[in-house]
Amino acid sequence: MRFKDVFSIIGPVMVGPSSSHTAGAARIGRSARHLYGKQPEKAVIIFYGSFAATYQGHGTDRAIVGGLLDYDTDDSRIPMALDYAKQSGLEVSFEEGRGIVRHPNTAKLILSDRDGGSELTMTGISIGGGNIEIIEINGFNIKMTGIYPTLVIQHYDSPGVLAYVTQALSLEGTNIAHMSVDRKNRSGNAITVVEIDGEIKEGILERIAQMDALISVGIIDLSQETQTEEQK
């Protein structure tokens, strides 16, 4: 089922004008912000397909930058997000991507420090009604929807990693909703993305942090309240 629950049909609450181009874009931006772990200093945003053709009219640019500022889809600051980004030291540039992409509403984000350090790349698609899929992180092909709290684990491809992760979840009494795994090459770098039911408990992160093959672990949780709600 592409649409999993009643609120993927009725909802989200959002600022207009387009659930695909505005709300979906905000969620893609916010997913990247969460995984980056803090506000990036620099963001290159590459729009493909319909996003590239109409992003200004739909506020896709403002929505995706709003997401990078951790705004939810209904945040009234979205129409002014480009100004807020400038004020908070986030330097943004937009490009129109070329080539064939899988979905007409595709955006690729490259986040980094001002000098280009700690780079994160993420590609998301907006599938309608504000629903999204993240299909790429740092060059790995993955699949996640943002509906569930999600663990993004980058690690070395070695035996026992998945068993370790699933055991950590099981020990904390947490159920896996969906999971996707990709690697660059055998024994090279790999990524495991785990969408879970319920919240990501502190104990899970502690256990995963101790894993030998770990490179990094991040969380994407779009159900979290925006940090600076009082500024609305």
Binding site: R2, G11, M14, G16, P17, S19, A23, G198
Partner: protein
């Protein structure tokens, strides 16, 4: 969810002696692991946003950033005050409310995607005006939204709800079907009647292309929301009167899928065809 077609949905409601709204709330709660009270509260908040959007669209300046659209809802209301509307008061009001919400959307105001932002006027238009007319409680309306959600869930998973994928029949058509089915239930009709209303409504939008001028969710999207809300009333009335969708509603959904899949790309939200490529449509795009 324990259903994937409208037929299954109606059968489940009958077997459990529940309305579509009650069944959807139960299913949603089971799926999410949250309590029914928590799910109900979320939907109740969404309904508040819909009411606020209607109010805003009827009372504030809704001129869009492009300057192309705005204030049409208020024009309809003023016209209705000055002369007898062809539609009559109730349908005129549903149309004005739907236009209002859709205009708030175009002006980057706060709305609920139902099922999308491009079609966000239909359900609030039908719900908020019908609540006023029939003096229903908010609780009744929230169950109605769960019913609309159940219908949309079936359409979305068996066909599509976005113009980019299936043309405007997928966006506005889905919204009309959802509103029509939910209105049947709100008026006390059976689940089977609600399902007929969905089929009746969807038939009337089959083949509708998505051709937004300059790619914006404004022309013709806003007026299609106004027309859509009126159509939902008509479909609900037919179903409540006992009119059946001779082609079962699940088969109509399949036809929408077939038609949308064979629609050329230029008629699916790309602004490469239809109204967007008329001489005036092209001129507007160049001037923006």
């Amino acid at each position: 969810m324990n259903f994937s077609t409208l037929n299954e949905l109606a059968a489940l409601c009958e077997a459990k002696n529940m309305t579509i709204g009650q069944l959807m709330l139960e299913e949603q709660s089971r799926e999410s692991g949250r309590t029914p009270e928590a799910e109900f509260a979320t939907m109740a908040q969404y309904y508040e946003v819909m009411k606020e959007a209607v109010h805003k669209g009827l009372n504030e300046d809704t001129t869009s950033p492009s300057g192309l659209t705005g204030l049409d809802a208020q024009r309809v209301v003023n016209y209705g005050k000055q002369s007898e509307m062809n539609l009559g008061g109730a349908a005129g009001e549903v149309m004005a409310y739907a236009l209002a919400v859709s205009e708030v959307n175009a002006s980057m105001g706060r709305i609920v995607a139902t099922p999308t932002a491009g079609s966000c006027g239909v359900i609030p238009g039908v719900f908020v005006s019908s609540q006023r007319r029939f003096s229903w409680t908010d609780e009744h309306m929230v169950y109605g939204l769960f019913a609309a959600g159940a219908i949309g869930y079936v359409i979305a998973n068996n066909s599509f709800i976005s113009g980019a994928e299936g043309g405007c029949q997928a966006e506005i058509g889905s919204a009309i079907g959802m509103a029509a089915g939910a209105l049947v239930e709100l008026r006390g009709g059976t689940a089977a009647q609600a399902v007929h209303a969905v089929g009746l409504a969807l038939k009337n939008t089959l083949g509708l292309i998505c051709d937004p001028v300059a790619g914006l969710v404004e022309v013709p999207c806003i007026v299609r929301n106004g027309f859509g809300a009126v159509t939902a009333l008509a479909a609900a009335d037919m179903a409540l009167a006992g009119v059946r969708s001779v082609i079962p509603s699940d088969e109509v959904i399949q036809v929408m899928m077939e038609v949308g899949s064979s629609m050329p790309e230029k008629h699916r939200e790309t602004a490469k065809g239809g109204l967007a490529q008329t001489p005036t449509g092209r001129k507007i795009m160049q001037e923006l």
